[in-house]
């Protein structure tokens, strides 16, 4: 195995060698890689963002960012769906001898749905403040790398996921730019139901 695939598999082996060493570390890795910890954590940060802001304008700006994040995630998920119509990559545990400490997903390994979705959710929020941005990026990286450690993704799956999330940004911005009136309507209704 040479070239990019060889490097990819070598990094996978290094990270995957962390699994199976102790039950405590396995529990930690599996929990961080789970479908619940990082996505819910990011969801809670967005939920907090919706209600926070010192001034009216700041709050409206935050709420707009939350909306853009959700739209960006939906577009990134659509890109994954379209890509998977033509492309399927076997999971590492299906073709190699790995330390598997996670359940066996049946969908394509590349791109990582987790990495694409969470990174797409986080990207628009990077404009808020440095501390929060760093925390969110750290959460995404931790979750994504854990999924390599537990044996269900190659590092390149994560990388392609991140690239798809970045690719979704211009599409989202174009969509946001041409739907201003609709957004204002949504915000008007939302602010009446959820006063802030």
């Amino acid at each position: 195995m040479v070239g990019f695939q060889g490097v990819d598999y070598s990094i996978f082996q290094i990270l995957n060698s962390l699994a199976g060493r102790s039950s405590e570390l396995d529990f930690l890795l599996a929990t961080m890689a789970s479908d619940f910890l990082i996505p819910v954590g990011l969801g809670l940060i967005l939920f907090h963002k919706w209600f926070s802001g010192r001034t009216d304008n700041q709050m409206k700006y935050n709420q707009k960012l939350v909306l853009i994040s959700l739209v960006n995630m939906a577009i990134a998920a659509l890109l994954v769906f379209i890509l998977n119509l033509w492309f399927f990559r076997e999971r590492p545990f299906a073709v190699h001898d790995v330390n598997l400490i996670f359940y066996q997903p049946t969908d394509s390994s590349m791109p990582s749905n987790f990495a694409t979705g969470t990174f797409a959710l986080v990207l628009p929020m990077l404009r808020v403040n440095l501390q929060q941005a760093a925390l969110m990026i750290l959460m995404v990286l931790t979750g994504s790398l854990s999924r390599v450690c537990v044996g269900i993704h190659y590092p390149s799956d994560i990388l392609v996921g991140f690239m798809l999330a970045i690719f979704a940004i211009p599409i989202t911005l174009i969509l946001v730019r041409y739907t201003n009136a609709l957004q204002e309507r949504i915000f008007h209704i939302t602010r009446r139901l959820i006063p802030t």
Binding site: A30, T31, A33, S34, D35, F36, L37, P39, V40, G43, L44, F47, H48, W50, F51, S52, G53, R54, D56, M59, F102, Y103, Q104, P105, T106, N113, G117, R191, R192, L193, I194, P195, T196
Partner: protein, 146 residues
């Protein structure tokens, strides 16, 4: 407790915690469950950590959606429902205990912050939702008449 219910309970607790942290902002003070700011912060953080511990330590949570887990769509729906539930819970309990008033100005811009203009009226959370409902009925009737 079933997996979906455990997820709903954990998300609801975490969302209530988040709302207590957010209600430190004067604009969201109608969601306060306690008057004391430091107590809200403490309870908020406690609820968030407790919810994660409760969820992950009370059963095997690393399971596929084919084996009783939740797929991404189910997760999104349950998370949204728990966020809505926690929002209504905080707003209603806050109204009952602390009786926080929401200010609505004549252009229907709603805020909890001090309004300098004189033309606003004060409503509780439930009165505001009643007003929203009656305004919606008027709007929908006019829409179909025209």
């Amino acid at each position: 407790m079933g997996f979906s219910l455990a997820y709903f309970v954990a998300c609801s607790l975490a969302c209530i915690g988040i709302l207590q942290l957010a209600s430190i902002s004067p604009r969201s003070r109608y969601l306060q469950l306690f008057k004391l700011g430091s107590l809200r912060k403490f309870v908020g953080l406690l609820l968030i950590f407790a919810s994660f511990l409760l969820f992950f330590l009370t059963g095997d949570r690393v399971i596929s959606d084919h084996e009783g887990g939740l797929d991404a769509n189910q997760q999104a729906i349950i998370f949204s429902l728990s966020a809505l539930f926690s929002y209504i819970f905080c707003a209603v309990v806050s109204q009952l205990i602390l009786k926080v008033i929401i200010k609505v100005d004549s252009t229907n811009e709603i805020t909890c912050s001090p309004i300098h203009k004189k033309d606003y009226y004060e409503l509780t959370f439930s009165e505001l939702q009643e007003k929203n409902w009656s305004d919606f009925k008027v709007w929908i009737t006019q829409y179909f008449k025209s």
